[in-house]
């Protein structure tokens, strides 16, 4: 399948979902708590996701979709599949904190070919495709390669119920990186963290046990903007990944500082 056609479908779907989110922003929405207090689902989430599904099905009904709300829809016939998070940063959205996004990617033979992250409130669209490049709106994206002490980092923690005994170490690492740099943020949207890394606003990101739909698009955008990317799949759950992404000056430094978070018996493959 041609990357440019996939990219066009993903951009169209992301904009549509973004419009749906903005139509309901700052309005009271129904919520239901899922596995933790931070993991809230909203009706808007679901409506936005349906809009995305509609466009992706119109584009090609035989391509399956992996998403937050429906996990896997369709049959994997080897042509590749869409990865969708219609609202990454749900808690921010519900609390009217303006840091949330739509994230859509296409994966074929374990490689992400196309990624789109749309921040509807800022009206910024980040997009990338293999063979085409990475862009924000009209501009080409490029990471900013600085020394660690001049860098701003961001992270996304694992869910509360993922290895509860390891959580203290996550907070310690977060604090160490925070004190050795210009700071480390926990923003609530991994997809936007990676988009900001691609743009040079952030200078490194990592995450523990993040879901594929939260990071798949952002990792491609960061990679095609000049970031080095390391990803390992968690042993316990199929759609969970640990990752680190940063420009060359920070990549090894960051890897060294966060390696204690990822004991080798916790991951199964590297891509």
């Amino acid at each position: 399948m041609k990357n440019e056609k996939l990219l066009e479908a993903a951009i169209k779907a992301a904009m549509k979902a973004g419009k749906c989110l903005m139509d309901h922003y700052e309005k009271r929405v129904l919520t239901s708590s899922k596995e933790s207090l931070r993991d809230v689902a909203s009706l808007v989430d679901k409506n936005a996701e349906l809009e995305v599904f509609k466009i992706l099905h119109e584009f090609n009904p035989s391509l399956p979709i992996l998403s937050e709300e429906h996990v896997f829809q369709g049959v994997d016939c080897g042509l590749g599949y869409w990865v969708v998070d219609a609202l990454d940063g749900t808690v921010n959205y519900l609390n009217e904190v303006p840091f949330f996004s739509v994230s859509i990617s296409f994966v074929e033979q374990a490689r992400t070919k196309v990624g789109v992250v749309y921040a509807p409130l800022m009206d910024d669209i980040y997009y990338a495709a293999e063979g085409i490049g990475a862009f924000k709106n009209q501009c080409k994206l490029k990471t900013s390669d600085r020394s660690p002490n001049n860098s701003l980092f961001s992270t996304s923690f694992s869910g509360k119920n993922y290895q509860p005994l390891g959580r203290e170490e996550e907070f310690l690492v977060f604090g160490r990186v925070n004190d050795m740099s210009r700071g480390c943020l926990r923003t609530g949207s991994a997809a936007l963290n990676l988009a900001y890394l691609a743009e040079g606003r952030f200078n490194g990101c990592w995450g523990k046990a993040n879901k594929e739909w939260d990071i798949s698009a952002g990792l491609l955008i960061a990679k095609l903007s000049g970031a080095m990317v390391g990803v390992i799949r968690c042993k316990s759950e199929g759609y969970l990944y640990h990752y680190v992404a940063a420009p060359p000056q920070n990549f090894t430094w960051l890897q060294q500082h966060i390696e204690t978070l990822f004991p080798e018996d916790d991951w199964v493959s590297v891509s």
Binding site: E4, L7, E8, I11, K12, M15, D123, N137
Partner: protein, 369 residues
């Protein structure tokens, strides 16, 4: 008498094709800085290139020897010994030269087709030696097949006029050193009566499928749009400035005959390059249309040119992603998110309400070849 040294950033159309006619080889030794490795190697291997000037319907040749072409960052050895520096690297690359120009003691003459850039560079570097110049000329970055067979570095230029800030008048050359007020008049004419219709002709040519600008002008429908846009620009300048109307008419006629000059071999790909830059809010397309509306001129033909720029499809262009955006976004989304227009602006409404008909008119040109 020994020759003075000239350091030229950018060995493209203006740097190679036009500057040697202004600051001539009898008086200057040329050093270039060029980021394109293939062009740099060719210049260093040959040590000489030809530039052809079209004058009275014929070509006049000038063979230009060069001392060295440097990779960017390796020119430090000559920086302190040159009489002047000339930049023609393009507006996107120009800001990267800031650290080089911070402590320059000689005039830095900027030919970047953007009057704001030298002003910003002067402010950032606190260096008053950085000045603006307008090469009022069309210079191709290539030449005819026959010329290229003899010299792969050959380029063709017009017999233009080089307007430069009088601050640099101690640098001897075939140019008009003028005060900043006169330079401003020349710049407004160049920006709106040359740059705007020139790039429109290129975008229309790209839709038609021709290689050179003069071929666009041979198509009656495209010619009508270019002339119409030029007329709109002329009217806008009449209403918004006190520039002499006869000068504006003279300038417009001069430009039209330039665009039609088949001896120039001016490639569409060069003139249409980087559509997003030309579509910026203060630049020659969107900026020009906004100025028209502010002065009571409806930019009917200019909007067709803008649509042609939206439809530009060239895989080799740095802004080639424009086509994916145009295909995937609704007109309102494209104008808001990508072009940066607000829904409340008159131009936004005009472009949206004429979107389908303008798109159709532009696409009909593809049958004109």
């Amino acid at each position: 008498m020994s020759k003075k040294k000239l350091l030229i950033y950018g060995a493209g159309a203006i740097g190679r094709g036009y500057i040697p006619w202004v600051y001539r080889p009898e008086k200057y030794e040329y050093y270039y800085v060029e980021s394109n490795p293939a062009l740099r190697n060719l210049l260093n291997d040959r040590g000489l290139f030809a530039t052809f000037k079209v004058i009275n319907g014929e070509y006049e040749s000038l063979h230009v020897p060069l001392i060295e072409c440097f990779k960017p960052g390796e020119e430090g050895a000559v920086l302190d010994s040159v009489a002047a520096i000339i930049t023609c690297v393009g507006p996107r690359s120009f800001p990267t030269l800031e650290s080089t120009f911070r402590n320059c003691k000689v005039p830095v003459i900027c030919c970047e087709n953007d009057a704001n850039l030298p002003v910003e560079m002067r402010e950032h570097t606190k260096n008053p030696n950085i000045i603006f110049a307008i090469p009022d000329v069309i210079t191709s970055n290539t030449a005819s097949k026959e010329m290229l067979k003899k010299d792969p570095l050959a380029v063709i230029t017009e017999d233009g006029t080089f307007f430069a800030d009088e601050y640099a008048s101690q640098i001897e050359g075939n140019c008009s050193y003028v005060g900043r007020e006169e330079l401003k008049v020349q710049w407004l004419a160049k920006l709106y009566i040359h740059n705007t219709p020139h790039c429109i002709a290129a975008y229309l040519g790209s839709i038609i499928g021709v290689q050179y600008l003069h071929e666009t002008m041979q198509c009656a429908a495209a010619n009508r749009i270019v002339e119409g846009a030029m007329h709109e620009m002329e009217n806008m300048l009449k209403f918004s400035t006190n520039i002499d109307h006869e000068f504006l008419r003279f300038y417009a006629n001069k430009e039209l005959s330039r665009f039609r000059n088949s001896l120039l071999c001016d490639p569409i790909s060069r003139v249409a390059r980087e559509p997003f830059r030309k579509l910026a809010r203060n630049d020659r397309l969107i900026g020009a249309a906004q100025s028209c509306l502010s002065n009571g001129v409806i930019p009917k033909f200019l909007m067709l040119g803008i649509m042609a720029a939206f439809c530009f499809d060239s895989i080799d262009d740095p802004d080639s992603h424009i086509k994916y955006l145009l295909r995937s976004l609704r007109p309102e989304e494209f104008l808001r998110t990508i072009i940066g227009l607000h829904e409340s602006e008159a131009l936004f409404s005009l472009l949206v309400s004429n979107w389908d008909s303008n798109f159709q008119k532009i696409m009909e040109l593809s049958n004109e070849k």
